[in-house]
């Protein structure tokens, strides 16, 4: 992508759909995706699905959990489009962020004018130990897991480094959980729609110190779906499209131990810088964001990497409640991975779904007023993949 495209939207979202997130008993991967796709299609009466949809870009991490491969054709087949080309992306929890970014590329290339972006994951039918082992495979098995690091222990080590350097406290981590649960309580699609207290977080059992049970996101089933079009034809499908105006992606070492500064998410900062430059906007222009709160510490690190505050100052935004729905920069109005849930492959596109709902005034009880610009931040593994997108009300 070229900076010359600065003022031109890259692509437009004209519809979005989400399955319920949580334990979706009785549904297999292809059916969970079909729930999300059906909602996206139903919400877009002007879309002639069979005629208009030219390709599927789908994020999915754990293919082995159903002895089933070929997620792309599988998903297309079960939504009545077995003949269209499909592309499956795997970058752990950033899988559908990758799918979205590549779907945008396909629109920009001119090859397709209407595509669907999907994400899907089914995790709750696995034993918890099995699910966590699959998820941990996004880190460096040979040096982290084999040496006793669990996935929470990796983010716990990052948290400890941040606390040591900047004086962030466990109470600040708890504030992230409390906020996101209060947002998720307003989201009918959320896995856990329940408010919690600081005490509840602080008293929850230690998973990997300093992280406790309520610092961790949820193991959920779920799917997400977006209808993405060339901006020139977006109004054929809706009066209120949402334009994607910036896209950035960066990488980092697979293991956290190799990184220069353990208290930052460097790839996220670099991905954000790309997206801001392409969109021609600054962090202070952003009205709301969905960030990758796989653990509470990750949301604080995201504030800093995305430039919502200076490094080390993430705790101040929480103390001043600036990231609540009525704050100056509401973050994770959907409830985030913490409360809405984290069906890993579905998460990136689900973040875009929330921004779409917010920028088209469809977020109901959690609606942010007068939002023009939104941002999503999606991470894979311990931040070895970071993807940032910026959206403008169309």
């Amino acid at each position: 992508m070229d900076v010359r495209n600065l003022q031109k939207p890259l692509a437009s979202i004209v519809s979005a759909g989400l399955s319920k997130f949580g334990k979706l008993e009785g549904f297999s991967i292809r059916e969970i995706f079909a729930l999300a796709a059906r909602e996206a299609f139903d919400n877009c009466p002007n879309l002639d699905v069979k005629k208009d949809v030219k390709a599927l870009f789908i994020g999915h991490m754990i293919e082995g959990s159903e002895h089933q491969g070929q997620t792309g054709p599988l998903a297309c087949d079960w939504i009545g489009l077995p003949e269209i080309p499909s592309f499956r992306f795997e970058s752990a929890c950033a899988s559908s962020g990758s799918a979205l970014r590549n779907g945008i590329f396909s629109i920009m290339s001119g090859l397709f004018d209407v595509v669907i972006i999907g994400g899907v994951e089914r995790l709750t039918h696995l034993a918890v130990s099995e699910a966590t082992e699959y998820l941990a495979s996004s880190a460096d098995y040979a040096f982290e897991q084999w040496h006793g690091f669990t996935f929470p222990a990796l983010f716990a080590s990052i948290a400890r480094a941040h606390m040591y350097k900047y004086g962030t406290k466990e109470e600040h981590l708890a504030m992230v959980a409390v906020k996101n649960h209060s947002h998720g309580a307003k989201n009918p699609k959320a896995h856990i729609q329940k408010e919690i207290s600081i005490d509840k977080v602080m008293e929850s059992r230690v998973v990997a110190s300093p992280l406790k049970l309520y610092d961790c996101s949820l193991i959920s089933d779920g799917a997400s779906c977006l209808v993405l079009t060339n901006p020139k034809i977006a109004r054929k499908f809706t009066d209120s499209p949402v334009n994607i105006i910036g896209s950035g992606q960066a990488g980092d070492t697979i293991g956290i131990y190799q990184r220069g500064d353990l208290s930052t998410l460097d790839a996220s900062a670099r991905a954000a810088a790309q997206a801001y430059k392409m969109a021609g906007v600054k962090p202070e222009d952003i009205n709301l964001a969905e960030v990758h709160d796989c653990f509470t510490i990750a949301e604080i690190l995201a504030y800093e990497a995305l430039g919502f505050c200076k490094r080390g100052d993430g705790k101040n935004l929480l103390e001043e409640k600036e990231t609540c729905i009525d704050g100056c920069i509401p973050v994770n109005t959907s409830g985030g991975l913490k409360s809405k849930g984290h069906p890993v492959g579905a998460t990136g596109a689900a973040q875009a779904c929330e921004i779409f709902l917010q920028l088209t005034n469809q977020a109901d009880k959690r609606q942010v007023s007068k939002a023009e610009l939104g941002l999503t931040h999606n991470m894979g593994g311990t931040g070895s993949t970071a993807i940032v997108h910026i959206y403008r009300r169309g």
């Binding site: 082992e133 941990a136 040096f143 084999w146 006793g148 690091f149 080590s157 110190s209």
Partner: protein, 155 residues
């Protein structure tokens, strides 16, 4: 030279491989398998880039600083400082017998950083910045050749 059959055995049954995997000139490949083979001989080894002198541990197939894949293996002193840590309470199946246990990231004197288990006489002595040294232990988990892991302890 190691026969292909031996390599296959090594990845399925730890400890069965007879020798290091080497290139046509007899140089030991900078692989993870070979790194852990050195561990099973109680040696913490890194590699030094022949072009820029950068030291890598664990070894990689290419230098991270210079576009080079020519290295010498070097012995690391195994001394370093604790950068960060976590105490794992909810442990994977293979580690439940020792939970809660400490994992940490240690910056070695030679520069590289390694993650590993930290064993202290008193858990409450854990402190960022503390001096640690490397030791080795054979594990019951069948994984890398020799099933030997380095870990960190107080000097």
């Amino acid at each position: 030279m190691t026969k292909k059959q031996d390599i296959k055995n090594a990845s399925t049954v730890g400890g069965d491989i007879e020798d290091f995997t080497r290139d046509e000139n007899g140089n030991i490949y900078p692989t993870i398998e070979n790194f852990y083979r050195f561990c099973s001989e109680r040696k913490l080894m890194g590699i030094k880039c022949k072009e820029c002198g950068n030291i890598l541990a664990p070894p990689k197939m290419s230098c991270s600083k210079y576009d080079s894949y020519k290295f010498d293996w070097i012995t690391l002193k195994g001394k370093g400082k604790l950068l960060t840590y976590s105490i794992v309470h909810v442990a994977p199946t293979d580690f439940q017998a020792i939970a809660p246990y400490i994992v940490g990231i240690v910056e070695l004197e030679e520069g590289p950083k390694l993650p590993g288990i930290v064993k202290l006489k008193k858990v409450e002595d854990i402190k960022i910045g503390m001096d640690l040294v490397t030791d080795f232990e054979k594990t019951s988990i069948e994984s890398w050749v020799g099933n030997t892991r380095y870990y960190f302890k107080q000097p």
